[in-house]
Amino acid sequence: MNQARRTFLKGTAVAVAMLSGVLKVGKAFALEWNSAAFTAKKLDEALKSSGYEGAAASDDILIKVPEIAENGALVPVEATSNIPGTTSIAIFSDKNPNPMIAEFNFMNGAEPFISVRIKMAETAPVRIMVKANGKVYTNSRDVKVTAGGCGG
């Protein structure tokens, strides 16, 4: 596992170059994929590029994750924001090679809730970020990963 993970970390730079090379955005989407945020290798950079830096801690963000994930390739994450005016929920895993995992924007009656399965490279906090009324909020839960889910 450790050997696999070293190989995997070394590959990150190559992968980032490949990603930026092949990226295309579907014409049907108003939304543009935030390449800078999703390919960032450090949590701070990813948060900055996605507009979530300087978030205030909030217990009004509810997170459901397993305490222990035996398989890092499949970690269920459920997040609910009770912060009024929530428009977006984003998921980060602090120690993934690319910490930003997903961002969901809600509109026209969609509730500020999301459930999704993610990959986790190693034991880390799962960080939920919320945008509401032009402000950003955060909460996190630690997940212990016994077998990482990103490498080969």
Binding site: F8, V14, V22, E103, F106, G109, I114, K119, G152
Partner: protein
């Protein structure tokens, strides 16, 4: 690629579950035989509509699990309404699914 969807009313909220078949290759894995990296191939944009009106827009990175599953909730929907999901991956393949919302179980 198959996309399986289920939508069910619970009060005035529709719960929508979506399961897509996709490798979600990170680009960080090596092929054990050739020693070369397997190119990244992952869904990166997803939208959902209720009777044609956007309700959810998502951006994904390589950290979403293989064969992505996600669930979301839409208030104000009713049984018989249509939920459609459209996804595109980094190689510009497009995927579509649609389901009629079922009455509360």
């Amino acid at each position: 690629m198959a996309m399986r969807m289920r939508a069910t009313m619970d009060g005035d909220v529709a719960t929508v579950k979506v399961l897509m078949q996709h490798d979600m290759e990170t680009g960080l894995r090596k092929d054990k035989d050739t020693g070369k990296f397997i190119p990244a191939h992952f869904i990166n944009l997803v939208t959902a509509t209720l009777n044609g009106t956007p309700v959810l827009e998502a951006q994904w990175g390589v950290g979403v699990a293989k064969n992505p599953f996600f669930e979301f909730r839409v208030k104000g929907a009713k049984a018989g309404d249509k939920i459609a999901v459209h996804a595109v991956d980094n190689l510009d393949a497009h995927y579509d699914g649609e389901v009629e919302i079922a009455a509360a179980a």
